[in-house]
């Protein structure tokens, strides 16, 4: 019980640290918001004019907003692993290992810290989406739940990046791999089009892609109001995040040595 509380406290400290860093310098948040906004403004408007994709009656830009939000979340979180590589090059990780903080609590804490960035990213993107005419469901409870999902799944994506960081010891290598992971996560999911439209193999992948479940949940909570799949979505997300955090905790040993 005491170790539980200890770990929880350490996770909170890591989250606080991230918030403090962002308070001093937010440029990265703004720069990273450019790409998702372009997706909505350019790709979204063109495709909604084409009217090729069945969205179940939802305007196309609104349809892809949850996906674009989550893509930016995944992007931010996976590149967050870069921070860990940086911390490995510097002495910060070594120093943290010598504190009473347990190793899993360091890994989980660092991962959850990515959630802070993701949430703030969403806070920037949503008003812009509103400006270009996306209608969100005015349900505060749904919104809170949606943000919680964004926060949690960020930890899962960040854990993927910690896992990769345990293999790649330099920043340069990380950059390429980061791209290679975020792309299939985004395109082979229901972020831009329904899974039913996909050819069989990609469909299989999309069904195993955690992004699909997060998109489904957030689309239900923020846009369509159809939350019949929500418990199932949340279960899938929680499993994904737990498994990734466990893998990251184990692979963390490789980062240290």
């Amino acid at each position: 019980m005491i170790t539980m509380m200890e770990s929880l406290k350490n996770i909170m400290v890591m989250i606080e640290l991230e918030a403090r860093r962002l308070r001093h310098d937010r440029t990265e948040l703004y720069v990273r918001a450019v790409q998702p906004v372009l997706w909505l403004v350019i790709y979204g408007s063109v495709m909604s004019a084409v009217k090729l994709i069945p969205t179940g009656g939802i305007p196309y830009i609104a349809y892809i907003t949850p996906g674009v939000l989550l893509q930016s979340t995944a992007f931010v979180s996976i590149f967050f692993g870069l921070t860990i590589v940086w911390e490995k090059e510097s002495g910060i990780l070594k120093k943290l290992l010598v504190t009473p903080a347990s190793r899993p609590s360091i890994v989980v804490g660092r991962s959850m810290a990515a959630g802070v960035r993701s949430i703030l990213q969403a806070v920037i993107i949503i008003p812009i989406a509103l400006l270009i005419g996306v209608v969100f469901l005015p349900n505060p409870l749904y919104f809170v739940l949606a943000f919680a999902i964004i926060f949690i799944i960020s930890a899962g994506f960040a854990a993927i990046s910690i896992f990769i960081a345990s293999f790649l010891k330099t920043r340069e290598r990380f950059m390429g791999i980061g791209q290679a992971i975020t792309f299939p996560l985004f395109f082979a999911s229901n972020a831009l089009y329904p899974i039913e439209l996909m050819p069989p193999l990609i469909k299989e992948f999309a069904l195993m892609n955690p992004m699909s479940y997060a998109v489904d949940a957030i689309r239900g909570l923020m846009i369509s109001g159809n939350i019949s799949n929500l418990p199932f979505d949340i279960a899938a997300i929680v499993i994904f995040v737990s498994v990734m955090l466990a893998i990251a905790s184990v692979s963390f040993k490789r980062i240290i040595e």
């Binding site: 403090r20 070594k94 010598v98 040595e257």
Partner: protein
């Protein structure tokens, strides 16, 4: 007297093939300042990472205040503080915030945090910069902040890995002055790695000389210097001394030891005045021409030379680390 560090037969092999430590034995009394002196690659950092519970030895045993570093890691971590060789503060937050984060990780009670942080900031003479982002600090200030983070919890033992590497002499001096005044007030044991002879000599009570993964000699700075003989004669030569002749010189009664080098020869003797003419005779007879001779009192460099058979070549490494610290600072 209480034993702070007790190490027996520590061996560490990386990836099953690269041997980093080959049977280390040493012990450190509580309250002392202990230096591990050796060149890059000797195994200093590996030893410190084992003592600070970051990595496990392949065999042997290490105890910190009686606690086994592999079995009681969590308990050990509550007693110790550590400053790695590389930078260990976040540069995009202020000095105060760095200390605050560490204070929280160490579960310092909320009502004591501010007082403790202000205290160490003052000890390290950073109180005027507490709100400034660390990326605007100088190298010496960053080092002092890192040490402040380590002192915050009043550890029983402080581990410092090359605490002044990459700093200019003035900044080095300040770092050490602050450390020593903290030590005096709090009686903490200090265990530090260095390749700076002068630091080991000036600030430590005991020195362990490490070379090629092994401890080659342990003693107080004075005892170490005494052990190499009263004086050192250094010859600069036209060519290397053949092994046989070096041996012949070494066998002379008035000579303590002989260390041949590249186009040079160092002779440790109790009385250089008597030894010098005789050695010059031998060299001349064997057609080894002398370019230059100097006689001096031994310092730690010579002690190192005698026990490790080599000099500490570290210039390159320092430049390396400085560049890395600069790069990380962004």
């Amino acid at each position: 007297m209480e034993t702070a560090v007790d190490i027996k037969g520590i061996v560490k092999v990386y990836n099953g093939k690269i041997k980093a430590l080959d049977g280390i034995d040493l012990s450190v009394e509580a309250g002392k300042v202990f230096a591990v002196l050796g060149p890059n690659g000797a195994g200093k950092t590996t030893l410190m990472r084992i003592l600070t519970t970051q990595i496990k030895p392949d065999s042997g045993e290490a105890r910190i205040f009686g606690l086994d570093v592999t079995k009681d890691g969590a308990a050990v971590r509550k007693l110790i503080s550590y400053v790695p060789q590389e930078m260990c503060v976040w540069t995009d937050i202020s000095g105060y915030e760095n200390l605050l984060v560490y204070a929280k990780i160490y579960s310092v009670p909320a009502q004591e945090r501010k007082r403790l942080i202000d205290n160490v900031l003052q000890t390290m003479e950073l109180d005027n910069f507490s709100g400034v982002l660390v990326k605007n600090y100088s190298g010496g200030m960053i080092r002092r902040l890192e040490i402040a983070c380590a002192l915050l919890i009043k550890p029983k033992i402080l581990f410092l890995d090359e605490p002044t590497i990459g700093l200019d002499p003035f900044a080095r001096k300040i770092v050490w002055e602050k450390l020593m005044s903290f030590k005096k007030e709090n009686g903490v044991t200090v265990f530090f790695n260095t390749h700076y002879m002068d630091e080991a000599e000036t600030y430590s009570d005991q020195i362990a000389i490490i070379n090629m993964r092994k401890i080659v000699k342990i003693g107080t700075p004075e005892a170490l210097k005494r052990s190499v003989g009263g004086e050192i004669i250094r010859f600069s030569l036209e060519r290397n001394v053949p092994a046989l002749i070096a041996k012949k010189i070494k066998n002379m009664k008035i000579v303590v030891d002989v260390v041949p080098g590249n186009h040079e020869l160092s002779v440790f003797a109790d009385d250089a005045g008597i030894a010098l003419p005789r050695i010059m005779d031998i060299l001349k007879k064997n057609n080894v021409y002398i370019k230059e001779v100097s006689i001096k009192k031994p310092n730690l460099d010579d002690v190192f030379l005698k026990y490790a058979g080599t000099r500490i070549e570290s210039v390159e490494r320092v430049v390396d680390i400085r560049q890395m610290r600069d790069r990380i600072k962004k």
